[in-house]
């Protein structure tokens, strides 16, 4: 155990993870893991199921506590889960205002819903929404509080391929309006390339390879650099047989 008991913040913005340990029984899922995310940066955490990426996200969300090390995140943060986790008994608008206490909550929720192209669906029940619509409501619910950090836990994994591509466009668009640090956890290499400023491949409870992605949107779609990056990521994931 490191002797870092002081609770005073060391940075003003972004995410700071230092030597974090998380054990489940004898197994150290996170083993002295280090991670920083800058202000306004989108980091994609890539890894197979069970590599500890969701565990790390839960730690950053404050839903779980580390067994060692230090985590520093903005207090104003939001999460988008893999499932939409909408309250079936509340209409869409009330689902978005769940965490708002200001008097203009409804107005802000309407704006957030319009941003995810769901204007006019405020009065719908969650059961009336398609999978993609429900996930967009979840996105609106996360963004409505103008968080400094958005944590996305495989948010598009349950969607079909076409809807997922639309969601990627939406995320890119939302990043122009909202300035927040983002951490996206996924096992989809193409999703990582489409969205990331930086891609981190997790292995053995630590961050393995790190790739800074400086490609234009068009280059992310199709380019030599994209294919090179994709091959490197697959190699990092232990799937090198493709090249």
């Amino acid at each position: 155990m490191t002797a870092t008991a002081d609770a005073t913040p060391r940075a003003q913005t972004g995410v700071l993870v230092a030597q974090v340990i998380r054990r489940f029984g004898d197994r150290a899922v996170l083993d002295h893991l280090d991670l920083t995310i800058d202000d306004d940066e989108l980091v994609v955490l890539l890894g197979p199921s069970g590599c500890g990426k969701s565990t790390l996200l839960r730690l950053l969300a404050g839903l779980d506590k580390p067994d060692g090390g230090r985590i520093e995140v903005p207090a104003n943060r939001a999460i988008v889960f893999q499932g939409d986790r909408l309250l079936a008994w509340q209409r869409v608008l009330r689902n978005v205002t769940l965490g708002l206490h200001e008097p203009d909550a409804d107005e802000r929720a309407r704006k957030a819903l319009a941003e995810v192209n769901l204007a006019g669906r405020e009065r719908a029940w969650p059961k009336q929404l398609s999978g993609g619509e429900a996930q967009r409501v979840a996105l609106a619910r996360a963004l409505v509080s103008e968080p400094e950090l958005v944590l996305l836990d495989e948010p598009f994994a349950a969607l079909d391929a076409i809807t997922r591509l639309r969601m990627h466009d939406l995320v890119r668009e939302l990043r122009r309006k909202h300035h927040a640090s983002m951490l996206l956890v996924t096992h989809d290499v193409d999703e990582a390339i489409a969205l990331a400023d930086r891609i981190l491949v997790m292995s053995n409870g630590r961050i393995g390879d790190a790739h800074t992605v400086q490609l234009s949107p068009a280059e992310r779609e199709a380019s030599v650099a994209r294919e090179r990056l994709r091959a490197a990521l697959l190699a990092g994931l232990g799937l090198a047989s493709q090249h």
């Binding site: 969300a61 404050g62 839903l63 943060r77 939001a78 999460i79 889960f81 499932g83 986790r85 309250l87 079936a88 008994w89 509340q90 009330r94 769940l98 965490g99 708002l100 029940w125 969650p126 059961k127 619910r141 996360a142 509080s145």
Partner: protein, 299 residues
């Protein structure tokens, strides 16, 4: 038709065109359901099949019963005809016997239900939300749940006398225990992931309770309500057989003494109508309060 003759031959190795599917394989063909468009015939047939909805079967039993009674198969002292019961009911009402009896029974049920609900809901909410509440109430409720309502009646008579208090408390007991158990289970059954989600949005404890836990527990609460109403009527019947000089139970006991089977049936019919009304009440509540729920609708 030529397809069939082609398929009959076992010459499978030769090239078979796509159109020539073997006729022996079972296939499903789905076409637009035009029963909705043939509205006149369709609705008429629907009406004829189930003219009274869920009450078709009870209605049918009544008709058969009436016929058997009129034919003399069923003796009046054994089971009087439904029309006989109806006329007895009207007669009793005109004589001014039934009205006050019904009123006093409903009053007992009302007070008993109010007490039972108050205790059951408060305990259920506390038990559901707080670990301490669970420890305080759950054991007692589980024990009480296994004690039959009719078995505590003699004890209640010893403890609370033979007056109104015993009757009201017996109904309250019948209503309170299932309400507590169902409400407790409903609150504990609310999806943990939704509570987690609500906390991450910055919703405080009050929001979590009012927007997640309580509405999420509503379906279970309504199940509890259904059981409570049914048991309260059971409690009413049991309670009114003890030293009653008015009320529906008294009417039945008295009629039984004088072998007036038709009057006994009047009491039973009214009890069953009370049960039906209670059930309809909960159904209506479910339709209004649970319209957000995607539920299975039987064909």
């Amino acid at each position: 038709m030529s397809d069939i003759s082609l398929a009959a031959k076992p010459a499978v190795l030769t090239f078979v065109p796509v159109t020539a599917t073997p006729a022996s394989r079972p296939r499903d063909v789905f076409l637009p359901d035009d029963s909705r468009r043939r509205s006149l015939f369709g609705t008429l047939r629907g009406r004829l099949r189930w003219p009274l909805g869920v009450y078709t079967t009870p209605g049918l039993i009544l008709i058969v019963w009436e016929i058997l009674a009129q034919a003399g198969v069923l003796k009046p002292t054994y089971a009087p005809a439904p029309t006989d019961i109806l006329s007895t009911t009207v007669e009793l009402w005109r004589d001014g016997v039934l009205g006050p009896d019904l009123a006093i029974s409903l009053q007992r049920a009302g007070i008993g239900l109010a007490i039972g609900f108050a205790v059951g809901i408060v305990a259920g909410v506390l038990g559901g939300f707080l670990r301490t509440g669970e420890y305080v109430f759950n054991g007692v409720a589980q024990i009480l749940n296994t004690v039959p309502l009719l078995a505590v009646l003699p004890l209640f008579v010893v403890w609370f006398g033979i007056d109104e208090l015993t009757k009201v408390l017996l109904i309250a007991f019948g209503a309170g225990v299932p309400m507590y158990l169902n409400l407790f289970a409903a609150i504990r059954g609310v999806d943990q992931r939704l509570i987690e989600m609500a906390r991450t949005t910055g919703a405080g404890s009050w929001r979590v309770v009012t927007r997640v836990l309580l509405p999420g527990a509503l379906p279970g609460f309504l199940v509890g309500l259904r059981f409570s109403l049914a048991y309260s009527i059971l409690g009413l019947v049991a309670a009114e057989t003890v030293n009653a000089d008015e009320g529906l139970g008294f009417l039945i006991t008295q009629a039984q003494t004088y072998l007036q089977t038709n009057k006994v049936f009047v009491g039973l019919v009214i009890y069953s109508i009370l049960g039906l009304v209670a059930d309809q009440f909960v159904r209506t509540l479910e339709r209004v309060l649970l319209r957000w729920r995607p539920s299975y609708e039987a064909v």
